[in-house]
């Protein structure tokens, strides 16, 4: 049983026009087995929340706390956070030329587990997970994200989530740019990890479409750097029909 606890998180970013405040006091608790959807309009700070949890150097935390099972996440380096059990599926996964997927996955698994995986079971696990995500075996010998289609990049992110078995996974707009088939394959992958590992999921999305495949326990509406409304799955249905106008208007 793990708990990711975010308290009054405030984050700024440096822009050409000076320091810009993006997160203005975010409170959120994600426990093992729970799925939280964070929904909000473009520019509301959803992705900043994801990157701040992962520790991207571009963002400066100016206040608040983030803990995982009581440990101070903000004091950890990016790789320490991942080894502590946090995972970020990125909206725009980065190309790493010359590094094959198989080498990358094994290096990451070794780092997260603290020891190299047993070769025989590892190769089998990777093959099975790739098969489930309808990824061709030749994928393993391609360079990380290089020349991948949008759908391939997202499947590769979920493949990593399946293999690294995090305690809490943040999925940053994993649904963006996916057609219906790819969305279903990716969502099935997330659901498989949920069923088999009790992972806590923080699902960041602009659209309600993915919530037909991945059922949230909690829905949070994110506007202008903070959570403005919280509820159950029914809140997503309301957003589907009404959009964000109500919240955007209110905060402006």
């Amino acid at each position: 049983m793990s708990t990711l606890e975010i308290r009054n998180l405030q984050v700024t970013v440096e822009t050409e026009n000076g320091t810009k405040e993006i997160l203005r006091g975010v409170d959120l608790t994600v426990k093992s087995g729970e799925t939280h959807a964070i929904m909000g309009p473009n520019g509301s700070g959803k992705s900043t929340l994801a990157y701040s949890i992962a520790g991207h150097p571009k963002y400066t935390v100016t206040g608040g706390t983030v803990t995982l099972d009581g440990e101070d996440v903000l004091a950890m380096s990016v790789d320490e956070r991942a080894r502590a059990g946090l995972f970020l599926a990125m909206q725009y996964p980065v190309e790493v030329p010359g590094v094959t997927v198989s080498n990358f996955l094994r290096t990451a698994k070794t780092a997260v587990d603290g020891e190299a995986p047993k070769l025989r079971t590892w190769v089998k696990d990777v093959k099975a997970a790739m098969g489930d995500l309808r990824m061709d075996p030749s994928f393993a010998e391609r360079n990380v994200n290089e020349g991948f289609s949008g759908g391939e990049k997202k499947r590769h992110e979920i493949l990593q989530m399946e293999l690294l078995k995090p305690k809490v996974a943040v999925l940053d707009e994993t649904d963006s740019g996916l057609d219906v088939d790819a969305l279903r394959i990716v969502s099935e992958g997330v659901n498989r990890v949920k069923d088999s590992t009790d992972v806590g999921v923080l699902l960041i999305t602009h659209y309600t479409r993915i919530l037909r495949y991945i059922k949230p326990d909690f829905v949070h509406v994110f506007v202008d750097g903070r959570i403005v409304e919280e509820g159950g799955p029914e809140l997503a249905d309301r957003l589907e029909s009404e959009g964000y106008d109500r919240y955007v208007g209110a905060s402006a």
Binding site: A54, G55, H56, P57, S77, V78, D79, R81, A82, R83, F87, L88, M90, P93, V94, E95, V96, P97, G98, V99, T100, S102, N103, F104, R106, T107, A108, T110, A111, V112, A116, L119, W122, V123, V126, K127, P137, A140, E141, N143, Q160, L164
Partner: protein, 404 residues
């Protein structure tokens, strides 16, 4: 310029960073002087086109016409059976036929060399193992000349290794017989205070293939000029280079591919990493397609990865085309800083920063290292790159490739 085909559209205008000092050559490469007479090359002052990037003040010793210091080097050779390894007088007919000194250092090397080392691969021989020529510098000045003579339809690999210290000026002449397939590797793994200026001239026979590989890792100043010519149609030159410059090092690689025979092919790929504030690398890639060289296909690429602020990489591709009847001609050059987003992505998967940096740099070199095709060289090279990045043998266990 319409003949300039960018074969790598991924490297768009944004990353196409020909040196800021891009210039119009004042003369064709065809007019550049070659001569065996020292008097034909005045001592460079540093403003000459071919010397403008080089710290010539530190090369004064090598520019002097002078013999070798007694005991300046030891040379060890290791060759499979059937290979001729000889010392030849400089006036032997097997010396100099494919070599034309093209600058002051090359001509003083030729004039100052007391003898030449000759490596001959017999016609139609297929060597089971590489030939190694290991040069160890001790102190003082050395003038060297090496002849590699690959007989027609032979298949061989010759590795020239440099280590130690001293001031070295050297000529390497490579004759690739008709239909032969030669891999020649020159490795510069000098001590931090060594100076090395070399000219490699290759003459590629009809339907012959030369893979010329330059690996430069150590030395205070290393400058290797490689010139490829074709003696018949159908020849192919593959020029590969890997370099890693640390603070205080000057590494310069100059290539000139002279397409005169028709239906020849050339492909150049050099990749370099720079680490430390005062690291400086220079890459110049000249290609000349003469009017007679119809059916030429040529491409050259240089990439530099800057790991620290203050390091400087100059990269200058030049293409002169005198006939439109060609298959293709293009070049690409880009110099970029280490990409922090790659580092973040890898670290976000739990990979510690030092391992992540090594993965990225190894990945940067991977395409060219994969083309080397000489395991003795590529494995040592990757290990050497890890050492440059401050890695340890133990950490390398994390990087074992697994095939599924």
């Amino acid at each position: 310029m319409s003949l300039l085909a960018e074969k790598n559209p991924a490297q768009s205008a944004a990353s196409h960073t020909d040196s800021a000092e891009a210039f119009v050559p004042d003369q064709s490469r065809a007019e550049r002087r070659t001569s065996y007479s020292v008097a034909d090359f005045p001592v460079p002052g540093g403003r000459e086109e071919e010397w403008r990037f080089t710290p010539v003040d530190r090369l004064k010793g090598l520019f002097a016409e002078e013999g070798s210091t007694e005991g300046a080097v030891t040379v060890a050779t290791d060759a499979p059976e059937g290979v001729e390894v000889l010392e030849l007088a400089m006036d032997d007919e097997r010396v100099g036929s494919a070599y034309r000194p093209a600058d002051r250092a090359a001509v003083t090397a030729y004039a100052g060399a007391a003898k030449a080392l000759y490596v001959g691969v017999p016609n139609e021989a297929e060597l089971v193992a590489p030939v190694f020529v290991r040069v160890t510098g001790h102190a003082g000045r050395d003038n060297a000349h090496l002849v590699v003579d690959a007989g027609r339809h032979s298949k061989a690999t010759v590795v020239l290794e440099h280590s130690g210290t001293g001031e070295h000026t050297a000529g390497v002449e490579i004759r690739v017989g008709d239909g032969a397939d030669l891999t020649f590797v020159t490795v510069q793994e000098w001590d931090d205070d060594a100076i090395h200026v070399a000219q490699n001239d290759a003459l590629i026979g009809r339907d012959a293939h030369l893979r010329h590989i330059t690996v430069t890792l150590g030395g205070e100043i290393v400058r290797v000029s490689t010139n490829a010519r074709y003696s018949g149609p159908g020849g192919s030159f593959e020029g590969l280079g890997v370099y890693f410059a640390d603070a205080g090092q000057h590494q310069e690689h100059r290539l000139f591919v002279d397409h005169e025979a028709p239906h020849c092919h050339s492909n150049v790929e050099y990749k370099g990493a720079l680490q430390g504030e005062t690291a400086h690398t220079v890459w110049v890639g000249d290609v000349l397609i003469r009017a007679s060289a119809e059916g030429t296909d040529t491409y050259e690429l240089n990439r530099n990865l800057i790991l620290d602020d203050g390091a400087r990489a100059d990269s200058i591709p030049n293409l002169e085309i005198e006939t439109g009847e060609i298959v293709g001609a293009g070049h690409a050059s880009a110099t970029g800083r280490f990409d922090d987003e790659q580092l973040f992505y890898l670290q976000a998967r739990g990979i510690p920063e030092d391992v992540a940096r090594r993965l990225v740099v190894r990945g940067f070199f991977a395409s060219v290292v994969a083309r080397i095709g000489v395991p003795e060289v590529s494995e040592r090279l990757m290990a050497a790159i890890d050492v440059e990045l401050g890695g340890t043998a133990a950490a390398d266990a994390d990087l074992v490739e697994v095939s599924s």
